[in-house]
Symmetry: C2
Subunit: 200 residues, 2 copies
Amino acid sequence: MTKIILASKSIDRKEILRRCKVSFGTLTTDIDEEPYKTKIKDGFKLVKELAKQKVLKAKEELIAKEKKAIIIAADTIVMLQGQIIGKAKNNNQAFQILKSLQAETHDLITGVAITHTFFPKLIIDCDSTLVEFSPLSDDEIREYLKTNEWKGRAGAYSIMDKASFFIKSIKGSPSNVMGLPVHKLYQILKKEFNMNLFKY
Amino acid sequence: MTKIILASKSIDRKEILRRCKVSFGTLTTDIDEEPYKTKIKDGFKLVKELAKQKVLKAKEELIAKEKKAIIIAADTIVMLQGQIIGKAKNNNQAFQILKSLQAETHDLITGVAITHTFFPKLIIDCDSTLVEFSPLSDDEIREYLKTNEWKGRAGAYSIMDKASFFIKSIKGSPSNVMGLPVHKLYQILKKEFNMNLFKY
């Protein structure tokens, strides 16, 4: 059975696959995201391009090691009123991001790229979920920041943890909000790679 | 600080609070649900009544032990085209339930009841989330049943695990689908019990 390699350092993505009881390996790829972020202003195009770059980098490394694998990479951003919101660099930035998201609905977009080390097939797709936050006072935002859940996360929150306190509603795929649209992944692996994720 | 007691044996409810890093104790209450299920045909009324009965039973037990606590109980059902769907009793029933839910949208309803051992205040509320499944072949349903995730779960699935493969979209609170509407719980504890769940 071909091994699944998740080319991601996101703890949330690993956690999703773990909860789905899917066996997988991981590989961390480092690409310079800045040039893409400067050039691409369309959120959907950006996450797809970044997922593609990550998966191709991982493929290169795995081919060099002659490893046979299905490789999955992803990238997540938040979009609020047409503006792309990425990860906060510090506590203050995280505060500002959450202040802009509170009492509003934003779009959480994840791009996903899938390829195989031995075949040229490369599938790129994306999924988007609307997320509505309840109103948050500045004190509540500060309480949330203390949990450090904002670190390394697009939009400065994680749906899996204490952010549940203020996530009023979502519309779309729940796993997509966690950073990996498992529903799309399952369909792509079935149709394009003849793989059954239930067996992993 | 008043202790939180979750009056539930549901592993999913415990898991939600654990992931929210909330400290809590548990207590299992056994009430005979059948008379309520026979009498109450409205799904919203049923989950609220069952949550209430569970929380009152737990309150009785804790008062007898002179324990001070905030007690939370909940009950979850699935509703499809006006019909209440509870837990499957065996593999065949689970198959039939999933077969009826595939390629359809159902309503997942959770009732929640909250009280305090030392005060008469009793808050009962409910939340509802629409869940859309993608089409599933009989073989796919059988694959899913092998995971045993259907056991003890309303609608014979758990959003946290392999059901992610076929949950296309939801509309509403994601924690509600897991069996505990944490967003509502946070608001109720804040407004009605002057409690800040961030501190737990």
